[in-house]
């Protein structure tokens, strides 16, 4: 094919600007066109694209693409792979927009590649200062897009805007001071023309918050602290001045309900992690979910999963929004398999607790009361000598995404059954330093325990099937309309299960552990399944017949 030259390219781009999404280029392939807020709200209508970290505002991580199904999944083959240059944990969920894939890389970089071939268009490398405080690796999970601008968190606690066509930096806003222990690792969430984003640093005694920024300028529109200050409701749940260093970070991407105009976001553990005596009280809104007004960020309701958390059980999971039938009535609900080993069903309009059942091994609570508050067992708090409690500090599950299939009505969760030993000790807060108040370890090697992909019936909390995998696996789950559930195991397999039975239908050994969640897109009419394992992004599709 002859190059079309600058005039032709400009004409094509102009056409793409003016036209709705998916206007094909001269070769029949789509051309990147602005991602309007309407496109984000209706992302389920263009399943060939993956327009945000969770795939859609409701957080289901469910692809409506059904070309790959239970009957043909055996024909899956590798189409291409992208090797990430920087070796680290690779936690990316790429976006795909009209044939262009955006892959985040450790520590705070992003590469744009052709979604057909995997070959690069551009790479943005964010310069980082020395002395960044990170508890758990130089992670960078994904970008958000609005119009033709990408939004990315950086490890030095900045929010940057990058031109999606060229990789040029458009603006760079400091969200918080990284020298005080603040950092950023999660994909932002676009709500209207606001970029909503959280903060990490719960192990450094930060004061957590959720922010909204003007998408065009990077100016902050609102900030909602996840630890209320004096005079604000909830401040009384922190003894003395402990709220100042209360943690409750917000290091994962939340979700949004356009009809209710509510943003839902999880809050992490209180600080210090394991010494609750230094912060007596329930410690709102740590280990909680918050519902925020979509325009002002004001708190509309909250639900705390683990009051006075002394185990490090961040409520840093994806709030999965679904519309279900409960007792014959349609209900707008939120599904939440929590790090504390309980599955919760909440009414997302009001925050009302509807049901809660354990989905993994737990030895800390007799159960939940009628309001969803845990009924604690005896002797479950950390001590100097160590207290053995299930789940482990890393949780029965964690930040890796679950998937919800509206077809099956199941929430698919990667879960871990194990107990940990929790230690308490004195600690003094020092700005910018680790502030844990104790420690944690697993008494035995991971092989003694069990990981599994579990299918939880959303409306009952019943585990309907499980597929055991090698412990301890840290991988998200994807569900697709072909009746398949996709996940990966720590031993380096990527696999597909039957959504109804959990039967393994396809697998490939990729040789390195996953730390990410799979996604799906299509280009040229061909469905692709994507997973990041080791330092590689792998892209699969059906072999031609």
């Amino acid at each position: 094919m002859r190059p079309i030259g600058w005039v032709g390219a400009a004409l094509l781009l102009a056409t793409a600007h003016a036209a709705p999404a998916q206007e094909p280029g001269a070769d029949g392939m789509p051309l990147l066109s602005p991602v309007t807020w309407e496109r984000l709200v209706n992302s389920d209508d263009e399943p060939h694209n993956w327009l945000m970290y969770h795939g859609a505002l409701h957080g289901q991580r469910y692809s409506r693409l059904d070309q790959i199904d239970r009957g043909n999944v055996e024909r899956l083959e590798l189409k291409w792979a992208h090797q990430i240059r920087q070796l680290d944990r690779n936690q990316t969920t790429p976006l795909v927009v009209d044939g262009v894939m955006f892959i985040t890389e450790s520590p705070s970089n992003v590469t744009a590649v052709d979604a057909v071939t995997g070959r690069a268009y551009w790479r943005y490398e964010h310069p980082l200062p020395d002395g960044i405080r990170l508890c758990c690796g130089r992670n960078n999970r994904g970008v958000a897009i609005l119009g033709e601008t990408l939004y990315m968190s950086t490890n030095d606690a900045h929010l940057v805007a990058i031109d999606a066509r060229s990789g040029s930096l458009l603006w760079d806003t400091e969200v918080a001071d990284h020298t005080k222990g603040y950092s950023k690792t999660a994909a932002p969430l676009v709500v209207g023309d606001t970029v909503v984003t959280g903060i990490a640093g719960g192990e450094f005694g930060i004061r957590g918050f959720i922010d909204g920024y003007d998408a065009a300028t990077g100016e902050r529109r609102w900030r909602t602290y996840t630890v209320p200050g004096p005079g604000e409701p909830g401040n009384e749940t922190w003894a003395g001045d402990s709220w100042r260093t209360g943690g409750a970070p917000t290091w994962l991407t939340g979700v949004y309900d356009p009809e209710l105009d509510l943003i839902y976001w999880g809050g992490g553990n209180p600080a210090p992690d394991w010494n609750g005596d230094l912060r007596l009280g329930d410690n709102l809104y740590s280990s909680s979910v918050l519902a925020l007004d979509g325009k002002t960020g004001e708190i509309v309701w909250h639900f705390q999963f683990t009051p006075h958390d002394v185990w490090d059980w961040d409520a840093i999971q994806v709030p999965v929004l679904a519309d279900v039938e409960l007792n014959g009535e349609p209900r707008r609900v939120m599904l939440w398999a929590n790090r504390n080993a309980f599955y919760y069903l909440l009414d997302r309009t009001s925050g009302q607790f509807l049901l809660g059942e354990p989905f993994a091994l737990q030895t800390w609570a007799h159960g939940l009361d009628e309001n969803g508050r845990p009924i604690l067992r005896e002797n479950v708090f950390p001590t100097t000598e160590g207290t053995t409690v299930a789940p482990i500090a890393g949780g029965a599950t964690n930040w890796w995404s679950p998937a919800y299939s509206p077809r099956s009505g199941f929430l698919y969760v990667n879960s871990f059954d194990a107990e940990g030993i929790y230690y308490q000790r004195d600690d003094d807060y020092e700005e910018g330093s680790i502030f844990l108040g104790g420690g944690h370890r697993m008494p035995l090697a991971a092989d003694h325990y069990q990981s599994a992909i579990r299918a939880i019936e959303a409306t009952t909390g019943e585990v309907r099937w499980e597929f055991p995998i090698t412990p301890r696996t840290r991988s998200g789950v994807l569900a697709t309309a072909g009746g398949l559930v996709w996940s990966a195991s720590v031993d380096g397999y990527f696999f597909a299960l039957d959504e109804e039975t959990g039967e393994p239908l396809w697998r490939i050994s990729l040789g390195a552990a996953p730390h990410a969640s799979p996604m799906s897109y299509a280009v040229g009419g061909q469905q692709r399944i994507v997973v990041a394992m080791g330092n590689v992004v792998f892209v699969f599709g059906l072999a031609e017949e």
Partner: protein, 252 residues
């Protein structure tokens, strides 16, 4: 001549400072520092992290430093390109105390200070035919752990327990797996690798065998040691411990 003088001066200047804080109190202060600043990556017992992948600091060997002064620099400056961040705001004394504490974690012991005799232990090792299953220096069997550098990873107390109570704590690599195939054939061996879909063992004849789990009728795992429990007199255990403790690649 001038050149020689300059070289000499450089040599003197490069001499490494000694750790001035090595008392018992310094150990305890270093431990407090460690618990507050280091355990989130290196684990509460310093044997490596769970959520972050900080390395084991108890082996007596460090990847980025060998001397106290080298450790001081790593703790102060961090390691570029990794999550290891320097304690730039910590004082001189605090960093040296951390170095002192780290040194106490080392499994390295002076073999001469142990009650047993290395030579007598070597004799017992041979008499009991331990080499039937264990390799030392490239000679021996494959049905037990290679002991060529066991003195680096196990301290004398642990070695004594390994000898007297071999089944007290068996690493998953040395569990015994018994598989029954669909047609009823039973194969037993050491668990070299197990994953979500497959199982790999070394059988009693040291053959490597791989099985697809889905094709098996049953899989049983024995978490006990295959080492014969031999009731040995205390002096012989001491000798064996001394011999095993002496097995190191080279002194750290």
């Amino acid at each position: 001549m001038l050149l020689l003088v300059v070289m000499f001066a450089v040599g003197v200047a490069a001499e490494e400072p000694e750790n001035p804080y090595t008392s018992g109190i310094d150990v305890r202060m270093g431990q407090r520092q460690f618990q507050s600043k280091c355990t989130s990556c290196h684990g509460v017992d310093a044997t490596g992290g769970e959520e972050a992948d900080g390395p084991d600091l108890t082996t007596g060997r460090f990847q980025h430093a060998s001397t106290d002064a080298g450790l001081y620099e790593v703790i102060r400056d961090g390691i570029e390109g990794t999550s290891m961040r320097g304690l730039r705001r910590a004082g001189d004394q605090e960093i040296w105390q951390l170095v002192t504490y780290l040194r106490t974690l080392s499994r390295y012991v002076d073999v001469a200070s142990l009650p047993g005799s290395v030579e007598a232990g070597r004799g017992t090792f041979e008499r009991l035919d331990c080499g039937r299953c264990h390799m030392v220096g490239g000679r021996g069997g494959r049905l037990g752990p290679d002991l060529s550098r066991v003195g680096e990873r196990r301290d004398p107390d642990e070695l004594a327990e390994d000898l007297t109570e071999p089944s007290a704590e068996v690493a998953p690599r040395w569990w015994t797996v018994r598989v029954t195939s669909a047609d009823g054939m039973v194969v037993e061996g050491l668990r070299m690798g197990e994953d979500t879909f497959n199982l790999r063992i070394m059988d009693g004849e040291e053959r490597l065998r791989s099985f697809a789990k889905a094709s098996l009728r049953a899989v049983e795992r024995e978490q006990t040691s295959t080492m014969p429990a031999e009731a040995l007199p205390e002096a012989e255990v001491d000798n064996l411990v001394a011999y095993l403790a002496s097995l190191r690649g080279s002194d750290p």
